[in-house]
């Protein structure tokens, strides 16, 4: 896979995105590379769940607004837990 643009310094890496969704939205941990499955329905559903909870436009994509929101400092407690 080409270097993912999000890996550019200052943006969230796909690893960080994956960890965010796992830590705060109960995304099932999966060894498969996140960048290969970020468009899969379970991940898209989690992105939508996060966007809905945080009051973002629910697109299911890792758009700029969403990435910006995920960079903000926050509480370590999950937003959605099992």
């Amino acid at each position: 896979y080409p270097l993912n643009p999000a890996a550019i310094a200052g943006k969230l890496s796909m690893d960080r995105v994956q960890k965010y969704l796992e830590d705060f939205y109960n995304l099932e941990k999966n060894v498969k590379q996140f960048v290969r499955r970020k468009d899969s329905s379970p991940v898209v559903a989690k992105i939508q769940e996060m966007q809905r909870f945080l009051g973002l436009q629910v697109t299911g994509n890792l758009d700029d607004d969403t990435m910006e929101m995920m960079k903000k400092p926050r509480c370590g407690f999950p937003d959605v837990s099992s």
Partner: protein, 380 residues
């Protein structure tokens, strides 16, 4: 707002806290002050008090830590996660951990300790994150918060008061956010003993009585003198407020609530799948737009629905309206000639609520036996 599973909360009003260690970013006295102020944000709106311990095990142990600090939830260095906390309970429960890789400050030049701690104390008291972007319990740290005029949002207050009730002043006094601002007028909580009290709907539920009003309801059990006021959303967040009618079908441990031409079935806290349904599925004509009141008469296995000055009788065994209905209310319930807001049956009597009055009707003698205040059940 939301709660932890089983609505974990402190089962006492005196909660202790201890500042276990300090960050090097701030003077200890400033840390003490920030923690005290952050606890006061909550104690201002609930009956709990917070007492500081200097040693030993306190309910809320507050500590600064970095990276892996022994609870399987390692911190992540500067930025990102600022801290976390645990729900009410023994040992680690109730505790607050703050990431000392942040720069903790008294102002907003770094991470404001007061604001972050106040959020974490919300968890220590039993709240989970809120999706209300104005709420302190919203998960993201809000750098725009005006610290000089900080106040809890109504969402925070509604949530924490659903767990602990109101501060010592009587529940009749509305509890505004710690500092109300022009744009957020605190909604007045209904005064339990208002002589002009009227209800949207009343129902029994598993031996208790529920009195619904706007977004609130009172729960009154046989063995308690006074009722307790709750927010509807604390038990049934997805139900609309301002019901038109409600009744308990005791044979199925179900409460049916009506609003407009829709109705929901609720068992305990759970709304049954497949609801809301149209009231027309019960057999009402399309001319009926809403139900005023309803109750289930166990002896006859019939449910009575009241609409303006007429009523229907529904057979809960055949699941259909009885023939020969609707009938005039005044014909079969002589003396009940006002518009009915709500009704339920108790100890063989029917209680019809109309505005601030309540009519006790004896179905055997077919006569009104008493006229009472609507909130007579509250023992004001």
């Amino acid at each position: 707002f939301g709660f932890f599973p089983y609505r974990q909360k402190w089962r006492k009003n005196e909660v202790t806290y201890r500042i276990v260690n300090y960050t090097n970013d701030m003077k200890q006295a400033d840390v003490d002050a920030a923690i005290e102020r952050a606890l006061k944000v909550w104690s201002d709106v609930i009956p709990l008090t917070f007492t500081r311990l200097r040693e030993g095990e306190a309910d809320i142990m507050i500590s600064f830590a970095v990276e892996d600090h022994g609870d399987f939830l390692p911190f992540d260095g500067p930025g990102g996660v600022l801290g976390h906390a645990y729900p009410p309970g023994p040992k680690i429960n109730g505790d607050v951990h703050l990431d000392d890789d942040e720069t903790w400050t008294e102002d907003k030049s770094g991470v404001n300790l007061f604001l972050a701690a106040a959020h974490e104390f919300g968890h220590s008291l039993g709240l989970v994150h809120s999706s209300d972007t104005k709420a302190l319990m919203y998960p993201l740290y809000n750098t725009n918060t005006d610290l000089t005029k900080f106040h809890l949002s109504q969402d925070d207050i509604d949530g924490i008061q659903s767990l602990y009730g109101y501060p010592p002043s009587s529940p009749d006094d509305p509890v505004p956010p710690t500092k109300s601002t022009e744009q957020e007028k605190p909604e007045k909580n209904p005064a339990t003993c208002d002589p002009n009290m009227s209800f949207d709907a009343v129902s029994t539920l598993r031996g208790e009585m529920l009195f619904f009003k706007d977004k609130y309801f009172w729960r009154k059990s046989i063995n308690s003198i006074e009722p307790t006021l709750y927010l509807l959303s604390a038990f049934w967040p997805s139900l609309p407020s301002g019901f038109d009618a409600a009744y308990e079908l005791t044979t199925q441990d179900m409460v049916f609530v009506f609003k407009g031409n829709k109705f929901w079935a609720v068992r305990g806290n759970d709304i049954q799948p497949g609801y809301p349904r149209d009231i027309y599925t019960l057999g009402f004509p399309r001319t009926v737009k809403k139900i005023d009141a309803a109750f289930f008469h166990k002896e006859k296995q019939k449910t009575y629905f009241f609409v303006n000055d007429i009523y229907w009788r529904y057979d809960e065994k055949s699941h259909s309206m009885d023939h020969g209905f609707p009938r005039q209310i005044a014909t079969d319930f002589p003396g009940v000639d006002q518009k009915i807001d709500a009704v339920f049956e108790s100890f063989g009597f029917f209680y019809f609520f109309s505005g601030s009055s309540q009519i006790e009707f004896d179905p055997n003698a077919k006569m009104v036996t008493r006229t009472l205040k609507s909130n007579s059940w509250f023992n004001c």
